[in-house]
């Protein structure tokens, strides 16, 4: 076992935690600008230590477990929600060299592991013994299961083109054309489904503030609450990375601008996706729960299936086929 195997994941952990810290600040700043506000600017220069202060506050809070809650499940839920969020990062190829586990079914691994988080949310909602939390948890389970299907279906087009589930090979296949162009329908479906998977506006029903107060984590405080939040933002990191890898050509440089290092390209594309998520959050109202289900099953799923069909057909056409 070489040293990198041990140090690498720890390093990634810190990078991700750093990302989460500043993604939260960045989100608040971006939304602040969009809404004619300044955003956090009191703690540290330019508000740079705001999240640090927030996390510190959460850590020193009293750890409350409601008297009627199912205590063991209540303790377990944040862990179930959080662990998969980190586990999925293993397969993401950040550059040609920086990848922790390069195995043949990377994409499948991501999809499978990320679904485990739903169990954590459902358990949290159930164990809290609170009606709002229960409704939030139920909604969340229904929503994430519904959107998982179009999410997986939308990437089938890519799998057909590349002929592999290996994320590294998927990036290699995009050296000439990024998949966002030939697979545009797939990309649109994937992006919408991934926003829903992340429980972000306009699909933030599980924690719909104005209806369910806070949804599944309404009874959580302090460190356990922080874990739920952390899981959410680590998923933002993971999902933005996956979108970059699948559709934006990963670390590949566009227009032959190869003098800029691959990792910079990755970070740029990744940041674009993250910014897009924040932008949407500041712009959109929340969709209603039944409309959400209809949208998943009646719009996204047929689109994703059509995309598979189109990909299959185009693959056989001589000239265009080479892009697919």
């Amino acid at each position: 076992m070489n040293l990198m195997m041990v140090v690498g994941p720890v390093l990634l952990l810190f990078i991700v935690l750093g990302f989460v810290t500043y993604a939260i600040l960045f989100e608040r700043k971006v939304i602040g600008w969009i809404q004619n506000r300044i955003g956090p600017n009191r703690v540290g220069p330019w508000g740079l230590l705001q999240t640090v202060a927030d996390v510190f506050k959460l850590l020193i809070k009293e750890d409350i477990i409601p008297a009627k809650a199912d205590e063991s499940l209540f303790r377990l839920a944040p862990v179930i929600a959080f662990v998969p969020a980190f586990a999925v990062l293993a397969v993401i190829p950040f550059t040609e060299k920086i990848q922790f586990a390069d195995f043949a079914v990377g994409l499948l691994y991501y999809m499978a592991i990320s679904s485990i988080t739903i169990i954590g949310i459902l358990v949290g909602g159930w164990a809290s013994n609170n009606k709002y939390a229960l409704l939030g948890g139920m909604r969340s389970a229904a929503q994430m299961i519904s959107y998982e299907i179009p999410l997986v279906m939308s990437v089938v087009g890519i799998i057909m083109s590349v002929g592999s589930l290996n994320l590294h090979e998927i990036v290699e296949a995009q050296q000439k054309v990024w998949f966002i162009f030939p697979q545009f329908v797939g990309f649109a479906v994937f992006l919408i489904a991934s926003i829903s998977e992340l429980n972000r506006t306009p699909f933030d029903l599980p924690e719909a503030e104005s209806e369910l107060v806070a949804g599944y984590h309404v009874e959580y405080t302090g460190f356990r609450f922080a874990f739920f939040m952390l899981a959410e933002y680590v998923y933002v990191f993971a999902m933005a990375s996956l979108t970059t890898v699948l559709y934006l050509g990963g670390w590949n440089a566009p227009f032959g601008l190869t003098f800029i290092p691959p990792i910079v390209w990755f970070i740029l594309k990744f940041s674009l996706i993250v910014f897009f998520l924040f932008w949407v959050r500041a712009t959109m109202p929340r969709i209603r729960v039944d409309q959400l289900m209809q949208f998943a099953w009646k719009v996204l799923l047929p689109l994703a299936l059509a995309n598979i069909f189109i990909t299959a057909v185009f693959k056989e056409i001589p000239v265009i086929g080479k892009f697919y």
Binding site: I31, Q35, D204, S210, E211, P285, R286, I287, D290
Partner: protein
């Protein structure tokens, strides 16, 4: 078949979307509302009873606290009723100032409604835009009477303060600014697909139901009834101005939104004319005795507040204090239709429908 159970969900009095301290006991089956019962009274202060021990000028600040989003119209309700009972003449300049502040307050109130309504259905940003523009109105009020929410501006016989120099021009500038802002709101909200999905065809009732429930304001007009007290029972100097009464067709939430937005435009029209015709000089207080002794009698006046018909009923026994004072608060009457509207709806529609009624708890509980 699985055996399912109805669940009792307690919404409020501390809840982000009940606009204050309204409590709703909602019986739900899954996510469908079977029954809903509003519980009110958490903000009850007994204004009407307190007023019996106060002289007429002392009541005015109490009315500020009823509909705190539109305190100017509340002020007007009590002073207008008193003036009618006493048969007072109001100087023209005071009437103009009253109309200007009431219409400004109507715009401010509708802006808050629009912002919080969008917040209810999950959009954050319009709330802050609405408050940015409302701020301009509050600044104007601040300059005029030194208060931003509870103005205590009107008096029996006129208004307390004359407009400071240049104030009327500032109102004129605001009208032009606000006209431009309306385009921004329409661009941001009116065409938004999710917004349309959330509001079109939701919370519909017909004109008969609306009239039977005694609804007023935009809640009534949205069903197609062209009823606005400023037009139908003109008070103050509203006959002098040319404005329309926007009505809806379908009576759904989307219509309510359009109706209120159009009311802002109409208010801007009134303001524009009022600024133009604003009299040079003149007094802002009529001839009023030092101690207001209202002759024995009884009167009811209704005025159009942003939320509907705001009525004030005074019974006087010839003293300096009312023998009995009763306010017809539009929010209270409009709220009564809520259980009917909620039955059979999805729980996500609860906040949308409640928000659409536009209640102010200070007014419901009084």
């Amino acid at each position: 078949m699985l055996r399912t159970e109805e669940m009792l969900l307690n919404v409020g009095p501390q809840h982000p979307s009940t606009h204050g301290v309204l409590r709703l006991i909602v019986k739900i089956d899954g996510e469908t509302i079977v029954d809903a019962e509003p519980v009110i009274g958490y903000l009850h202060r007994g204004t009407e009873k307190l007023a019996e021990d106060l002289n007429y000028t002392q009541i005015i600040p109490y009315t500020d606290r009823m509909d705190y989003l539109s305190a100017m119209t509340n002020n007007y309700a009590i002073v207008h009723a008193t003036e009618q009972l006493m048969g007072l003449e109001i100087p023209e300049r005071a009437e103009f100032l009253r109309v200007i502040v009431m219409e400004l307050n109507r715009i401010a109130s509708h802006l808050v409604w629009m912002g919080t309504y969008l917040l209810d259905i999950g959009a954050m940003s319009p709330f802050l835009y609405a408050f940015r523009d409302r701020e301009q109105i509050l600044n104007l009020f601040n300059e005029l009477c030194g208060a931003r929410i509870t103005y205590n501006y009107m008096r029996v016989g006129g208004v307390k303060w004359d407009a400071p120099p240049g104030w009327i021009d500032k109102v004129g500038e605001f009208v032009q600014y606000m006209k431009k802002q309306m385009d921004e709101y329409h661009g941001l909200i009116t065409g938004n697909e999710i917004f349309i999905q959330r509001t079109k065809g939701i919370g519909i009732y017909d004109r008969e139901t609306a009239i039977q429930f005694g609804l007023s304001g935009a809640n009534l007009r949205v069903t197609g009834v062209k009823w606005d007290l400023r037009k139908n029972q003109p008070y103050s100097i509203y006959e002098r101005f040319d404005f329309d009464v926007p009505v809806g067709q379908t009576g759904d939430l989307y219509d309510k939104y359009l109706c209120r937005m159009q009311e802002i435009v109409e208010s801007l029209k009134i303001l524009e004319q009022a600024v133009e015709q604003f009299p040079e000089g003149g007094s802002t207080m009529g001839k009023v005795p030092r101690v207001l002794r209202v002759p024995e009698g009884e009167i009811y006046v209704g005025i159009e507040s942003p939320r509907g018909e705001l009525g004030c009923h005074i019974v006087s026994k010839g003293k300096d204090k009312p023998w009995r004072l009763k306010f017809r608060r539009p929010s209270f009457y409009n709220l009564q239709i809520l259980p009917t509207l909620l039955k059979g709806e999805n729980i996500s529609n609860l906040v949308a429908i409640l928000g659409g009624i536009d209640i102010v708890l200070g007014e419901v509980d009084c």
